[in-house]
Amino acid sequence: MVDKVLSSGKRYRVAVAWAHDKNSVGALYRAARDGLVEPVMIGIPERINEICKSMSLDPALFPIIPAVSETEACAMAVSLTAIGETDIVMKGLTATDKFLKEVMDKENGIMIPGAVLSYVCAIEIPSYHKLLFITDPAVIPFPNLDQKIAMAEYAVDMAERFGISKPRLALIGASEKMSHHFESLADYAVMCKMADRGQIKNCIMDGPLDLFLACDRKSPGIKGVETPVNGDADILLFPSLESSNPFYKGLMLFAQGELAGLIRGTIKPVIVMSRSESENSKYYCIALACLMT
């Protein structure tokens, strides 16, 4: 992915809202040094300079636009991106809800009108034979049918940017059977039919599937389940944040997962990183934002 971005030869301008944390600064420094991005730091200049000094980084890499408050910094970062001064907007040391409020602002925000705000990430796990895209482990608590459809489309679009055509998309459940005990399963059946009928395009969809049927190539044969996903999923769509979030954190914590994730539904890429992500993951998030620009 990083190679792909570098080969484009373009440097993307990133507006960083309230750029007061070491994590963001470190990842941005690396991305800037590698020629991926040109960061524009928004916040209190003294604090940003201090952080650079404490990490022995050259502050000259980072032009700074002064802002006195979190809210001001967020609004400024978003509007700079809205008017095209920057290509990407990134959250620094500010609360996610404050930051997203500016992103979603009707007048000055950068939402695609009527779009669903969601989050997709690609995870590299040594124990899986390819990248695994996951949606939505960060934004929508209990997605309804329309939100699930948007999630699927965002994930397919992202997989395509990685050069995966017709990704296999598994709608994850506790088993492959339909049951009226789980509301999400009705949505899954509807989505599969929509994929059959060409209403959701460019993917091979099946669900409900449990994780084994989705990602273990031996499992469909053992269980006797015929599924076009066939243990070879590229994308996993989860029914709720409660299931997707522990899953993706589990991959990072126990399976050496490295991720690159991005907010979707916006006109320009929006980077929101969690503090628990590794330095590498943060760097990948920035590269991904460049890829999706």
């Binding site: 339909m178 059946a189 599969c192 060409g198």
Partner: protein, 300 residues
Amino acid sequence: MALKFMSDLKNIVAGKPIKKLVLATAQDQQSLSAVLRAWSDNIVEPVLIGDKEKIQNISDENGYNITGLRIIHEPDTDMAVEMAVRMLSSKQADILMKGKVGTSTLLRCVLNKEWGLRTGNLLSHIALFEVGTYHKLIAVTDVAMNIAPNLKDKIAIVNNSVSFLGRLGYTMPKVAVLGAVEMVNENMEATLDAALLSKMNQRDQIRNCIIDGPLAFDNAISLDSARHKGIKSEVAGDTDLLLMPNIEVGNVLYKSLVFFAQAKVASIILGALVPIVLTSRSDSEQAKYDSILLSAAASK
């Protein structure tokens, strides 16, 4: 295997022992006429329960020969129906047919918890049509009994229908779940149920058939139409069973086929211990005869 003509049912019947049909409240000219014809064709062995005097009068007026026919005299309608149902629940007969009695009275007896014909399954209606413009018989459900079936009811209706078609020799009937369009539309509940039924079928939760839906009527019955719309489906254009979204659609389709397309029709009630012939007064004598034929073919 699919049946092509209504007359194919005769071959099925010919391969089985003759079934005993009980006509409840038999003092009804139209029913009597169809039953007697089926009797003379060796399709069923009738037992008439009702007002013997009235039955005799109808026969005399119409020149029917009822000599040798078993008639049980019971002038009271409710008693006659109860007696008929009891005969079936005690396995002394194989098929129940409604005569001159209201449908609700008959069904109340059928659903009686002590001596009725309950199986725990939902009762549903199925109609089998022979239409000159379709390449085989086509079954339609439910056009007369379930008004606005929910998903659970639809599952029961499909199961009733598939096991009925199995008794006629169908191995994997093709079931089209009908909608106004073949696309899923959140505002059309029928299309959502159709998607769920398809998935349950894929997952072996509805067995012994191939379900696809939503399909619009044209792409359910016409391969050209399905191809034209780019629908990939094993069912489209080759449907054996059409599942209706509600009684209004079903009833209008039924009557359109009969009146506009001069279709032959046979229909019975499924889901009870035995097939029930429950035709309406507006059905032709031929339709009543064919329904008896169908009940005999579908009888266990």
